[in-house]
């Protein structure tokens, strides 16, 4: 909670805000609600289709029985009580 003071040209000055930070102002019944904007996330770059396909081809594959046991172990983990 902080206080606001009306400055010139009908602007509001809010103490405690950070220079350069963006804030979201939501209208609420009887006033406004101000929150810092969530940190902007720079989208990552993934593996290209070619790089992934090459890596996938070079793997040591799982056999069906091993894959089945991994799935069963994971399912058991999800159902843990």
């Amino acid at each position: 909670m902080t206080t606001v003071a009306k400055a010139d040209k009908s602007r509001l000055t809010i103490r405690g805000l950070v220079d350069g930070q963006h804030y979201i102002v939501r209208e609420q019944p009887g006033g406004w609600f101000i929150t810092p904007e969530k940190t902007h996330r720079v989208k990552k770059t993934g593996m290209s289709a070619e790089a992934f396909a090459k890596l996938y081809r070079s793997r040591s594959p799982l056999d069906a029985d091993t894959a089945r046991e991994i799935s069963a172990n994971l399912a058991a983990t999800d159902k843990a009580k």
Binding site: F52, L55, R59, S60, A67, I70, L74
Partner: protein
């Protein structure tokens, strides 16, 4: 398409002899793996049979551990919590691992490639099942 491959697809794809590499190459997908898959794959390690343990290890060494993985940072965990809570309010309980995958997908603008499409629909995240 930017896709996030989840653990269920990796493992089930192997069980059904599905060529995930060919599917990715044919559609020219940009591929992501995230740290939730790293945790799930390790959690699923077989412990009853040394042959299975060795094959599990070889797959890890030759593929999973070499794939660049999106980290589960604070923002991802916060988003996962929000998505899981929303799904539960709507009457759907989804495993934490899927919630973490969903959060990465939402924040990175990805489509999840998975066997468990229903889980991701419950989390309101785009998902496809290449095995269907």
């Amino acid at each position: 398409m930017r896709i996030l491959i989840d653990t269920s697809l990796l493992v089930e794809g192997e069980r059904r002899n599905f060529d995930l590499g060919q599917w990715v190459a044919a559609a020219r997908h940009e591929v992501f793996i995230c740290d939730a898959t790293v945790a799930e794959y390790i959690a699923g390690k077989p412990w009853t049979d040394s042959g299975k343990q060795q094959r599990w290890q070889n797959y890890w060494d030759s593929f999973v551990s070499l794939s660049e993985s999106v980290p589960l940072d604070h923002q991802v965990c916060e988003k996962a919590g929000e998505l899981l809570a929303s799904a539960r309010r709507a009457g759907k309980t989804v495993p934490l691992g899927d919630g973490l995958h969903a959060a990465v997908a939402e924040l990175e603008d990805l489509t999840v490639a998975t066997v468990d499409v229903d889980h991701f629909k419950a989390l309101r995240v785009r998902a496809v099942n290449p095995l269907k």
